[in-house]
Every structure is written in C-alpha cells, then in structure tokens.
C-alpha cells in the first residue's frame, strides 16, 4: 500500500502505462492459467478428441478445444489398469512421514537453537542451510551408495529418510525464525511459577502451533512434488505419483489422456493445501527471507 495512491497522476503517459499494465497482466494470466485448463479439460477427453487442432493460422478455429463429449475413462484406468491407489498411498506415507519427522525433531532443535548461544553456532547454521540448498542429484550420489548397502533403496523408509535431507534443514531454519519471535519472558514467567524447562517449552507451543502446522504442510508439499529422489531411491518398491505419471510415457504408446488425469490427481490436492496455508507460503518458498 505504501507506494500507491499517494498522488494520482493523470497524464497521457501514465494512462498509456496503466493500459499497458492491464493488458500485460491479462496476457500473463492467460499464459499462466491456460496450461491448467488444457490439462484439466484434456483429462476428460477421448484420445482422438484431445488431438484435434485447428488448421495453422485459423484463430477462430480454437473453439474446437471445447468440442468433445466428456468421459471419465482415463481416471478409471488409472485406478484399475495402473494401481494409482497404491501410488497415492506411497506418496502420502513418504511425504507425510518425512514431514512429521522433520517438524517434530526440527522444532525441538529450532527451539533450542533459538534459546542458546554457543561457539560455532553460525557454522552449524550454515551447515544446516547448505544441506537444504545442495543440488538433489549431487546429494543422491553418495546417498544412493549408502542406502544400497543398507537395503533401503526401493523402500518407503528409505524414501522418507531421503526426503528428510531437505525437509529437516528447512524445518529447523524456518521454525527458528518462529521461536525467535516468541519472547523468552513467557518461559521465564512460567519457570518462576515452578515449571520445569520442558513445561515452559510446552507452554509456548500454542503460540507457534499455526506456524508449525503450516510448515508440516509445506514439507508435505516439497516431498510430494519431488521426482528425482522418488525415481532413484524409491525405484521399484516405493513408486510415488510423479514417477508413476512419468512412467505412462512409453516409447511406443504415450497415454496422454491418462497422463493428464494423473497430472490432475497429483496437482489438485497440493493446490488446495497451498491455498489453505497461503499466509505462510511466501515465507516458506523464500526460506523466510520475505514475509508477505
């Protein structure tokens, strides 16, 4: 709000700018949202109808896009011919498990890091954040070798542990910022009243509960959307939704209808969750550097 409505200009230039702005945003929105519309609508189309395109240059022919009879068969094949029910469960367990582990241990660590000072704390922090920022492929090379020797490749516990490599540092980093905002005086007051340190910690939990909940959701989101770890560490026994969707692409026969349906199945829940925690989304996506 700060930079708006201070003084209203009304010159030809400013009017031209504002018209340009509106047109620009309109075009951008169409460009951003159209792929979703195509995905959603195509998932209800029969194969031949999905491939229908107007002649090149025939802009009026675009209405052909809506010329189809809706069918649910792609969704039913996902669950009958491909076992997408299992893959959804795998995704849920892997993402949920790592999110819970990360946030439980992460909040304990974040709380103590927020309350205590010691030498080398900055270095510890740098280690934590660089674990989060490390390229997934680079992390996976040694992790794959270790997990193979422990027989963790292709299992859900292995995948949960793999997701924890990026979720745990994320949780520690974000939640520390949260605990920093809770005044120590609250705990002090509790302890003067005879509470132990752990009781004092529990007493401030309700203050940070909404944030903790939001970060569980964010951790689920990151893990759910992962492809690389799931493709390598989870290959075989722990196939998640993005990998299963990718496997519908076969050299001879790409089942586009099913792929679009699987895309909807994978994307829709995360979009809803994202809207629920919108308030924390921006902070989460920018590692807490920017708050909305």
């Amino acid at each position: 709000m700060a930079s708006r409505d201070v003084v209203s200009y009304d010159t030809p230039l400013s009017r031209a700018l504002s018209i340009f702005g509106t047109v620009f945003v309109a075009f951008y929105l169409v460009w951003t949202l159209l792929p979703f519309v195509v995905m959603f609508v195509s998932s209800f189309k029969d194969m031949l109808e999905a491939f229908k395109l107007p002649v090149v240059g025939d802009w009026a022919g675009m209405t052909v896009f809506f010329d189809f009879s809706p069918t649910l068969k792609h969704y039913t094949t996902l669950f009958t011919e491909n076992s997408f029910g299992t893959y959804i469960m795998n995704s849920l367990i892997a993402a949920g498990g790592s999110a819970v582990i990360s946030v439980v241990f992460g909040s304990l660590a974040a709380y103590s890091l927020s309350r205590v000072d010691f030498r080398g704390k900055q270095d510890l922090f740098f280690w934590i954040i660089s674990t989060r920022m490390a390229p997934v492929v680079a992390v996976m090379v040694p992790l794959y070798a270790i997990f193979r020797s422990l027989d963790l490749v292709g299992t859900l516990p292995g995948l949960i542990l793999a997701y924890t490599t990026f979720n745990l540092p994320f949780a520690i980093w974000m939640l520390k910022g949260f605990f920093d905002n809770v005044p120590y005086a609250i705990e002090e007051a509790q302890m003067v009243d005879g509470a132990t340190r752990f009781e004092a910690f529990r007493s401030i939990l309700p203050l940070v509960a909404p944030g903790i909940g939001a970060f569980v959701v964010l951790c689920v989101l990151f893990a759910w959307n992962d492809f690389l770890f799931a493709a390598i560490i989870g290959s075989g026994g722990a196939k998640t939704l993005p990998v299963a969707t990718r496997e519908l692409v076969q050299p001879q026969n790409i089942q586009w209808g099913s792929i679009m349906a699987a895309g909807v199945v994978t994307t829709a829940p995360m979009m809803l969750l994202g809207l629920v925690i919108r308030k924390y989304l921006v902070a989460g996506l920018t590692m807490g550097a920017v708050k909305e």
Partner: protein
C-alpha cells in the same frame, strides 16, 4: 437476547452459584500456601545449557547421518572407480579426467546460459508484473492465480508442457506456428530451440515467485520518499528508477540467488522434457551428472562431478546467507 427470559427465571440459581464459587475461592485462598506447592522445586540452575543440547541432539544426529556422513562418502567415492560391483582406489584420476571431458565443460556453460536466460526473463517479467499487480484493485485474486504454477510438481509440469509443445497436437506449438514464430518442426526436436523450450517452462513455473517477492519489497518502499520526489516534480518513471528500484534491490537479490540455486537443484522438468537432448543441447551440468551416475552407474566419476557442483553451491550459499543477514531496506 432470547435467553434473557430463561435466565431471569433462574436468577436465584445463578446467584447461588456465584455465591458457591466465591465460597470455594475463599476456601482455596484460606489453604496454607505450602499445601499447594507442598514440595518446593529446586530453582533452575542459571546456565542449564546441556538441556538445550539434549533437545537439539536427535535432529543433529539425523542430519549428520543424511548429510555429513554422505558428504565424506562422496569424497571417498570420488577417489575410487565405483560402479555397481564395488570400488578400487584410483587416486585423483576422476578429477584429472574432468578437465578433458568436453561434456563436463559444456555442462557448466549450458548451466550458465540456462540460468542467465531464466533469471533475466523471470526478473524482467516478475518485476513488471509486481508493479502492475501492486496498483491493482484485485491484488489478492491476482496473487492467488499466480501462486498456482508453483504448486505443481515440476515433473508433472514437464509432462504437461511436453503435451503442449508436441509438434502434431500441442496447443502451444499451434499458437507459435500460427503466429509465424515456428515452422512445423517441434520446438523440442531442434537443438537450436530446445533450450528456449526448457527456459520457458521454468519461466512459466517460477516467475510468480519473483513477482511475489518483489511485491513484498514494493510494500516496503518508504512513502515519504515518494512524496518528496513527487513534490519536486518527478515523473512516475523517474520515481520508479530513483526510489522504487533501489529499495527493491535487496529483496530482488535474495530472489535471484534463491532461483539461481534452484536451477542447480531441480532438473525434474528437464529430465521429463528433453532428457538433455536433442544431442547434448540441454544437457546442463546436473543433467549430465544424473546421466553419468544413474544411467551408466559410474558412481565414482559422478561423485567427482557432484563435488564440483556442491562446492559452487556452497559458495553461492555463503553469499546468500550474507545477504540474508544484512538488514533490509525499510522495516523487516
């Protein structure tokens, strides 16, 4: 208001309850204090640091197992000739070979090209978008719409764009062709255009992040400076370049660094769209690493490449943390 009648009927009950409550409280008050806290607890020692270390320990232990331990493994592996079977020590051979590996060097060049193209487009589009959205009545709805692509799994986004780019039935291809930008060959099939294709997907998915970060920065632009500048007769353009942009700079720096590191981190959509092809036109370094390590299972060689990638990321991370810690313009 409807409850009043029912209340007034039983007003005596209320009174008696109140009375009882007071009697009860007097009773509590009258109890000697020692009975409430019959065993006075020991006061907490002044510096009970160890307690915090106990809380920290499990997280640090997990993190050590999944990050520090693998890191040492990575260094050991990079000195060995490891494939599926086992390893044998070969010293620094993995590293010396990298200098003559054309695809390794090309990978870095392509990664730089890819990142610069992505970031240039994202910052340009993102900031313009933020300025317009900031002065819009519908800001809240626009931001919600813009958040959508970021919720999609990058691999699914890759598949969706694979469909849209398709040379025979892709809508995006049709639009580009109708506008006369492209001939009938698919954008992904030619080595000249495939890079633009993967850049566009990244721009589609992540420009909104820059927009939202820039939007947060715009809210912080001090109003008095804008007013003072306008009183001096500055135009809106001048206002933008003299006041808004300098104030935006620290936030934008964070956004750019974050996106830059994400370009190193995520290759999901590229793997799905081109797999590094056609030829090696889109084989940016992480994709090349993926191929070496998990297609040909040359884990030792992969480890050496991974280490170079990690070192660059750590240096970038140092930069990022320094920017984080700097106080940002306006109130944080």
């Amino acid at each position: 208001m409807t409850d009043v009648s029912s209340l007034s009927g039983s007003s005596r009950d209320v009174a008696s309850q109140l009375f009882r409550a007071r009697a009860h409280s007097v009773e509590v008050e009258a109890r000697p204090r020692a009975e409430i806290t019959h065993k006075p607890r020991k006061f907490n020692p002044p510096m009970p640091k160890y307690y915090y270390y106990y809380l920290m320990a499990p997280a640090i232990a997990i993190l050590a197992f999944i990050s520090l331990y693998p890191f040492f493994w990575l260094i050991i592996m990079s000195l060995q000739d490891v494939d599926i079977g086992g390893g044998e020590w070969i010293g620094l051979k993995n590293y010396t070979k990298l200098f003559t590996d054309a695809r390794f060097i090309d990978g870095w060049i392509l990664l730089a090209q890819y990142s610069i193209m992505c970031l240039g487009l994202q910052v340009g589009l993102g900031v313009t978008l933020a300025v317009v959205v900031n002065s819009s009545k519908y800001e809240k709805y626009l931001v919600t719409a813009l958040l959508m692509p970021m919720m999609m799994a990058p691999a699914v986004a890759g598949l969706l764009w694979l469909f849209l780019y398709n040379g025979t039935f892709g809508w995006y291809h049709w639009v580009l062709q109708s506008a006369g930008i492209l001939d009938s060959a698919s954008i992904l099939a030619s080595a000249d255009t495939a890079m633009y294709a993967i850049v566009l997907v990244d721009v589609w998915q992540w420009t909104p992040l820059i927009t939202i970060i820039a939007l947060a920065g715009l809210k912080r632009v001090p109003r008095d400076q804008l007013e003072a500048n306008m009183v001096d007769g500055a135009s809106p353009m001048r206002n933008f370049f003299a006041i808004i942009l300098p104030n935006l700079y620290p936030v934008l720096l964070i956004a750019v660094l974050l996106r830059f590191m994400d370009n190193f981190r995520f290759i999901d959509s590229i793997l799905v769209l081109t797999g590094g092809g056609p030829g090696s036109a889109t084989k940016i370094l992480p994709v090349y690493l993926f191929e070496v390590a998990f297609k040909f299972f040359k884990l030792g060689r992969g480890a050496a490449i991974a280490l170079t990638l990690l070192i660059v990321t750590i240096l970038l991370g140092k930069l990022l943390v320094r920017v984080f810690e700097k106080p940002q313009g306006g109130k944080g």
